[in-house]
Structures are given as structure tokens and as C-alpha cells.
């Protein structure tokens, strides 16, 4: 059994990894992101990043978490109906800046942590979304209108 084949069992999943677009994806079922982060720490995987996607028609967001395990790129996706997800910063220090960046760009709240401004400098205002039509509060206003 390869290392990759042994991971689903360690995560309590009956699924297997599927390679797609250069990433080994594993559906996680009911597992939440903090349980995943703990499991990845247990495997000594290296956290790489989180990629945020805004879904069309106000369907929410898709967050893709990536870890490296011996050169293999692992991917785990979480679809959010709202705009909150638990932070993994206390479990995975490497996630600090990317959580702050996504918070600023997509108005997502990573719960259980505090933020300081990272990329954007508009006073104390965080959660400034760069895409037209979306603001920190979710109201329909463009970034241009805000100015």
C-alpha cells in the first residue's frame, strides 16, 4: 500500500484519492477543516495554500486547501454556503497570511482568530472585496462605488 493509499483510512474516509489537474483530490465527507489540519500535521505534510473561488449566483464559496506530502500535491475542497469557516491558524502557522488575504479579498470570516490588515490598506476596514458587486457585508456595491 502506498502512502497515498493509506491516507483515506487515517482520515476515516472510505473514498480514494483521484488525480485531476495535477492534484490528488480526496472527498472528505463530514470531516471539517480543523480535523483535516490535525490529520495533515500527523502525516507531517507541508501546508501550501488555500485557493478561494467565489461561486456564481450567490451560491457561496469553494475553498481548496493544499498540502504537499513527499512531493505529491494533495487537495481538499470545502464548499461554503455562507461566508464563514473555522480558522486553522492555531494548528497550522503557515496558513496565517493566506487566511488574512482571503479574508480581505473575499469577505470570508475564518472564525477563532484575529486579523491584522495584510495586503489592503484602507484604515481599519478589513473584508474589502476586490470584485464588483460584493462587499464585506455582502451588500451589492462595487469597490468603485465604495470609493
Amino acid at each position: 500500500m502506498t502512502l497515498l493509499e493509506s491516507i483515506p483510512e487515517k482520515l476515516g474516509s472510505t473514498e480514494t484519492f483521484v488525480e485531476k489537474g495535477g492534484v490528488h483530490w480526496l472527498p472528505l465527507g463530514a470531516m471539517n477543516v480543523r480535523e483535516l489540519a490535525k490529520a495533515m500535521n500527523g502525516l507531517h505534510a507541508r501546508f501550501i495554500t488555500i485557493t478561494a473561488y467565489q461561486l456564481p449566483k450567490e451560491e457561496g464559496f469553494r475553498l481548496e486547501y493544499h498540502w504537499d506530502l513527499d512531493g505529491q500535491l494533495l487537495g481538499f475542497a470545502f464548499v461554503l454556503a455562507g461566508n464563514t469557516i473555522e480558522s486553522i491558524f492555531d494548528l497550522c502557522e503557515a496558513s496565517d497570511w493566506i487566511e488574512r488575504e482571503i479574508h480581505e479579498e473575499y469577505s470570508l470570516e475564518f472564525t477563532g482568530r484575529e486579523y491584522e490588515p495584510l495586503l489592503l490598506r484602507q484604515g481599519d476596514e478589513t473584508g474589502v472585496n476586490l470584485r464588483d458587486g460584493v462587499t464585506a457585508s455582502g451588500a451589492a456595491a462595487s469597490s468603485q462605488e465604495k470609493k
Binding site: A52, D70, G71, L73, L119
Partner: protein, 360 residues
């Protein structure tokens, strides 16, 4: 009594803006807070308004020093979405360009590090060598900074006379072997300014997920060219230099040794350059719906691109770039803790930061 010293956003070491607020007790730094974002250009969002040709030119401008690496990673991702495989000759040319860029980047950094050590003649020597590396890049691509070499399915320009390029590389290697390498590995000035300064322990390097030469200088032996080979790296023989000390000197040694490894790879790639096409000529392609991810070992470490496309769309739906400095820069806070204030410019420069990459 502690007091705060703001350094930047106009930086004494590197001509790019970022700010480090240092809390000092006497001459000793006890903590620091980093502020970035001064170069934020919204490139990821701009990419969503560009077609598959324009987006390559745009992403080449994420970084001035490792511009080739950005287009290489982007093209690798887009090739997964178009099912195009570059021909072997193109894969070799991609390796040659990537290693020349690594040489250019490391020698540039060595010059800046020398200047910060107070070793200005070494700065001049490094920049003279860097000019020669840029001459080689210009001989291949016609450009000195943004090379426009990568395209979906291959490269734009061939290396028509690899022997002449090989001679230029061998001359460069000899010059570096007689100047940069011995000075950085054995000189007392370099050792006294760098040994034991700005230490990042192996444990902290792993916890922060740092990459590239900074990780390897903290005893973490990771390099995507070995762990997850792309282009023609699987066919190259080279070593990955690792140093356990985690200080500025270890970062200096790793980069000096990597210069020699890059020369080794260049010699192999140029002498074994396979014949054939340099891109998938005339082959029609279309993007499939989905997301593709590619990773490449840039001079500063792992670059990752996630590209999302919808079939029939002219533009990508999303381009996410994770640059190496974005994960390495937070480590500065830990490197400067306990350091002397006078050493902090050198410590900050020792990660070879790229603020343009970080902010995007």
C-alpha cells in the same frame, strides 16, 4: 525600556517597499511586525480579464527577476487544461531558461548580500557576472528581463547554437568558481557577518512551511525539481544542497552551492538538447472546464499556480498564485528576534525577498 523602530516602507537594503516595525530593547530586537501590500496590483483579478495569450504576458510581470518561472508555471497549468504536451526540445529549453534565471537571481542576491556585509568590491564582481548571465539570456530570448519564452504547448524561441551558449556558461562557471564561490564559502568577512545571525530553526521552518533556499538552509531538504520533476528535470543529474545551521551564512552557502548545481544542469541540458519541434505546431486546442494546478521550483522556492477555466470562455475564471516569498517572509519575524538592530537589513535580505511577487 522597549521602543519601536519602523524600518521601511522605503527599505535600506532592497529597493522595494515593505515595512518592518521592530520592538527593541537597547540594540536587541525582541519582536517585529511585518506590513506588506505596498506593491499590491490586483494581478490575480486582472488575469480574469485576459485571454490565454494576454494572461501569459500579464503573469510574466508578477516578478521582474523570476518572470520566466511565472509563465512556465502558468503554461504548465494551462497545458493540463488543454491536454497539450510540449515536445522534448521545448522541455529542455524550459530547463535551460529556468536555470539561467536561477543563476541570474542568485548572483544578483549575492551582490546585494555582499553590499550589506560591507563588501562592496564583491557587489561589483557579482553584478558584473550577473550582466554576463543576462547576456546569455538575451542571446537566447532577445530580452534581458521579461523573456517571453513560454507559450502553451512549448516555447517561442529555439536555441539554434547550443555550443556557443555552452561556451558562455562554462566561462561564467569558471569566473564564479574563482571569485564568488570561494569568497562566500571561505572568506572571514562573510563568515563573521553571517554566522549565527538570523537563525531559523528546522522546527520553525517546518511549522511556517518555508520553501526554497531558506528551507534548505534550515535543514529541510525539499526541492520540487527532485520531489516532483517537471519539464526535463527527471533527466538531469544534480544535488540539492542542504545546510543545517539555519543562519544567514547557511543561506549564503546554499545559494553559492546552487549556483554550481545550476551550471551542472545547464551543461547537461545544453549538451543533450534533443532535436525536433519547440512547440506543438498547428495543433488546435481548446480549454476544458476545470481547475489545474502546477508547481515549479523558482530561485526563491516553490511557486504554485491554480488556474480555473470554463469551456468556451476566452478568459480564465480564476488564477491563483502562491509565490515563495509569501510563505518565507513571515519567517523574518522569528529570524530577527534576539538579533542586533544593525544585522536586521542583512537578515531581511537573506531570504532574498521579492515584494512584487508577495503582493501581486
Amino acid at each position: 525600556m522597549s521602543y519601536k523602530i519602523p524600518m521601511g516602507p522605503y527599505h535600506p537594503a532592497l529597493e522595494e517597499p515593505y515595512k518592518l516595525d521592530m520592538i527593541c530593547e537597547g540594540e536587541t530586537v525582541v519582536d517585529a511586525n511585518l506590513n506588506i501590500g505596498f506593491n499590491f496590483r490586483g494581478i490575480e483579478h486582472l488575469a480574469e480579464t485576459r485571454n490565454h495569450i494576454q494572461v501569459i504576458a500579464l503573469m510574466e510581470r508578477v516578478c521582474g527577476i523570476c518572470s520566466n518561472i511565472h509563465t512556465l508555471t502558468l503554461c504548465n497549468a494551462m497545458e493540463k487544461l488543454t491536454n497539450l504536451t510540449p515536445p522534448p526540445r521545448a522541455q529542455y529549453i524550459r530547463v535551460i531558461m529556468a536555470e539561467l534565471e536561477r543563476l541570474h537571481s542568485h548572483v544578483l542576491w549575492a551582490g546585494i548580500a555582499a553590499k550589506l556585509m560591507g563588501f562592496k568590491t564583491m557587489f561589483m564582481t557579482c553584478f558584473e557576472i550577473r550582466e554576463k548571465v543576462m547576456d546569455v539570456l538575451q542571446a537566447i530570448s532577445g530580452n534581458r528581463v521579461n523573456y517571453s519564452m513560454n507559450r502553451i504547448g512549448g516555447v517561442n524561441r529555439d536555441i539554434t547554437d547550443p555550443d556557443s551558449i555552452l561556451k558562455m556558461v562554462e566561462k561564467l562557471e569558471a569566473e564564479m568558481l574563482s571569485t564568488v564561490i570561494p569568497i562566500f564559502t571561505t572568506s572571514r568577512t562573510a563568515t563573521s557577518r553571517c554566522a549565527g545571525v538570523g537563525v531559523l530553526t528546522t522546527e520553525k521552518a517546518i511549522a511556517l512551511g518555508v520553501v526554497g533556499p531558506v528551507a534548505r538552509a534550515s535543514g529541510v531538504p525539499q526541492d520540487l525539481r527532485k520531489a516532483a520533476p517537471y519539464a526535463a528535470y527527471a533527466e538531469m543529474e544534480f544535488d540539492v544542497p542542504v545546510q543545517p545551521a539555519g543562519d544567514v551564512r547557511a543561506r549564503l552557502l546554499v545559494r553559492a552551492l546552487e549556483i554550481m548545481e545550476s551550471c551542472k544542469i545547464l551543461r547537461q541540458a545544453l549538451s543533450k538538447l534533443p532535436p525536433g519541434e519547440i512547440h506543438t505546431e498547428g495543433e488546435k486546442f481548446a480549454f476544458i472546464t476545470g481547475t489545474a494546478t502546477a508547481r515549479v521550483e523558482a530561485p526563491r522556492g516553490e511557486v504554485m499556480y491554480s488556474v480555473s477555466w470554463k469551456e468556451g470562455s476566452r478568459n480564465p475564471a480564476r488564477v491563483h498564485v502562491r509565490t515563495p516569498t509569501f510563505v518565507v517572509m513571515p519567517a523574518i519575524r522569528w529570524m530577527v528576534q534576539g538579533a542586533r538592530l544593525a544585522d536586521t537589513p542583512l537578515i531581511q535580505a537573506s531570504i532574498d525577498p521579492c515584494y512584487s511577487c508577495t503582493d501581486r
